[in-house]
């Protein structure tokens, strides 16, 4: 059951994990862009952690606050896209105190659609959208959080393996064209880190 407690616990785990993942993400982003992705996520995580003690019961309002915290903490693309996805999920959950794990796929789809509209990237462009979509497909038809997580991680890994040889077509990394072939998209790796962080201790 996804309720305030579960949401808060998950967000706290993600926020913690970002402190460790930051260096790796900065370095990867630095090979293709401005090297700020880890910083973006650490800042976002810290802003979110401040919300947790007073997170509203209403899941929609809770996610809305998380989205806003993200937009405040930086101007980087990944931050804004994450906030956009969170806002979409917030709209879907507005007025509800709890959700079933079986709704995860639909929430991920809603987030993906909003992010696609915001960033004008297509599926297949080797961005965080592809990871999100892979996770949504893996979650489809599943209702047990550990199973969803395991399936989503496997699907994201497979997607990253498949897309790794492609050149980047979106964002700053596009400028480097061929140099991005053979490298993971930093946003996908960031999403995988978030997913992996969700494992309960």
């Amino acid at each position: 059951m996804l309720d305030r407690a579960a949401l808060a616990a998950g967000l706290a785990r993600i926020a913690d994990h970002m402190e460790q993942a930051a260096e790796e993400l900065n370095a990867l982003d630095g090979q293709l862009g401005d090297g700020d992705l880890g910083v973006t996520l650490v800042r976002g995580g810290r802003a979110v952690r401040e919300l947790l003690p007073a997170l509203p019961e209403d899941l929609g309002q809770a996610l809305m606050q998380v989205a806003t915290a993200f937009t405040r903490s930086s101007g980087s693309s990944f931050g804004t896209l994450t906030a956009t996805g969170l806002l979409a999920a917030a709209k879907a959950l507005k007025g509800r105190d709890r959700a079933d794990w079986s709704e995860i796929a639909a929430l991920l789809d809603a987030a993906r659609d909003a992010m696609q509209a915001r960033g004008k990237a297509a599926l297949g462009d080797k961005t965080v959208l592809d990871a999100l979509d892979a996770a949504a497909r893996a979650a489809e038809g599943r209702a047990e959080p550990a199973a969803i997580q395991a399936a989503a991680l496997a699907a994201v890994d497979a997607t990253m393996d498949r897309m790794r040889p492609q050149p980047a077509r979106i964002g700053r990394a596009r400028i480097f064209g061929a140099k991005s072939e053979g490298l993971d998209d930093p946003g996908m790796r960031a999403f995988r880190h978030m997913l992996a962080a969700l494992t309960p201790p």
Partner: protein
């Protein structure tokens, strides 16, 4: 890194503090984290607001062009980084005189997402927003993909013309259309001789050999069209003109901007302008209000850009209208 600064992470905030302290009659610092610069005087009710925003490190772009006949407010990011959604929303709010706000900025992905999302936020406060993107750098994409081009020095013309249209009392649709025509009218290309250093990164954005130049390089160091031995000024001017005229031939009056990317001194800009003028006038063009100086820079990068702004009667009138900011007065 040879820069005059204190803490690299305080670079932008200290810079803005100094900017406003030096020009209190022109600017006011406001908004989320003080990252919005607005005109010293609040917006006249009923006037359409014109806002811009983008990363720091390009003075006078963007912030410098806040002033009468130009922008109403500007959101400022870290060096070469987009401002946050909140900062942009605050810039829009401070430029709201009840007649709507035009978001006018360069074609960079991060800025677009953030300004769009900022628009969603202020829409809930009943502020009507429109968008015009400046995408004038012909070196960054071919004619077929002109909408993918980066925005560079052409922004200055767009700010000027949109600002004049707003000052003249046009409504939001009218100001937006003026800005769209201005952006459409501009073609730019630049070349770099040396890199610059983003303070927080601490090392140059790219490397370039002692006797080399790079034609078509972007203002953040994005790769250009060719890299090779430094050419004479007249040859550089001729090649840039060739690129711009191939994209759009001169058919009426043009304004010309010869712009330093930062370190290149005005002496060299005048040598370039001499060649540009001879060539354009030789082809029968009428040059209106040439601009030679530092209008859109990348801190201490050496190099220059050339912009042609193809004018019609309206654009020429708006370009000639009065404006006032510490970096440009007409």
């Amino acid at each position: 890194m040879k820069k005059v600064l204190n803490d690299p992470f305080a670079y932008v905030d200290e810079m803005l503090e100094g900017l406003v302290a030096a020009h209190p009659g022109h600017y006011r610092q406001t908004g989320a984290q003080g990252r919005v610069i607005a005109r010293a005087q609040p917006i006249r009710p009923g006037k359409v607001g014109v806002v811009s925003g983008g990363g720091s490190g390009h003075l006078p772009v963007f912030t410098g062009y806040v002033g009468p006949g130009l922008l109403d407010a500007c959101a400022i990011g870290d060096v070469f980084a987009s401002p946050s959604v909140e900062q942009m929303a605050d810039a829009i709010r401070s430029a709201n005189g009840g007649a709507g706000v035009l978001r006018l900025y360069g074609n960079y992905g991060g800025d677009i997402m953030n300004f769009d999302m900022a628009g969603d936020l202020v829409a809930m406060e009943d502020i009507a927003c429109t968008t015009v993107l400046v995408a004038d750098d012909v070196a960054s994409a071919g004619r077929a993909e002109a909408e993918k081009r980066r925005g560079v020095a052409g922004m200055v013309y767009a700010f000027k013309i949109a600002g004049a249209a707003a000052e003249a009392g046009l409504d939001l649709a009218g100001v937006t259309e003026a800005a769209r025509r201005a952006a459409e009218a501009c073609r730019s290309v630049g070349f770099a001789l040396s890199p610059c250093t983003v303070p927080q990164a601490g090392r140059p954005t790219f490397q370039i050999g002692e006797g080399e130049m790079e034609m078509g390089m972007g203002i953040h160091g994005e790769p250009g069209v060719w890299r090779g031995p430094l050419k004479p000024a007249d040859a550089i001017a001729g090649e840039m003109l060739d690129m711009l005229l191939a994209d759009r031939p001169v058919s009426g009056p043009v304004s010309v901007m010869v712009n330093s990317l930062g370190a290149t001194p005005p002496e060299e800009l005048y040598i370039l302008y001499r060649a540009v003028k001879a060539r354009l006038e030789g082809a029968g063009a009428r040059i209106v209000m040439p601009l030679v100086g530092r209008y859109a820079t990348s801190m201490e990068m050496a190099g220059a850009s050339l912009t042609l702004c193809h004018l019609d009667d309206d654009l020429e009138r708006w370009l000639a209208a009065p404006c006032d900011c510490p970096f440009w007065r007409v």
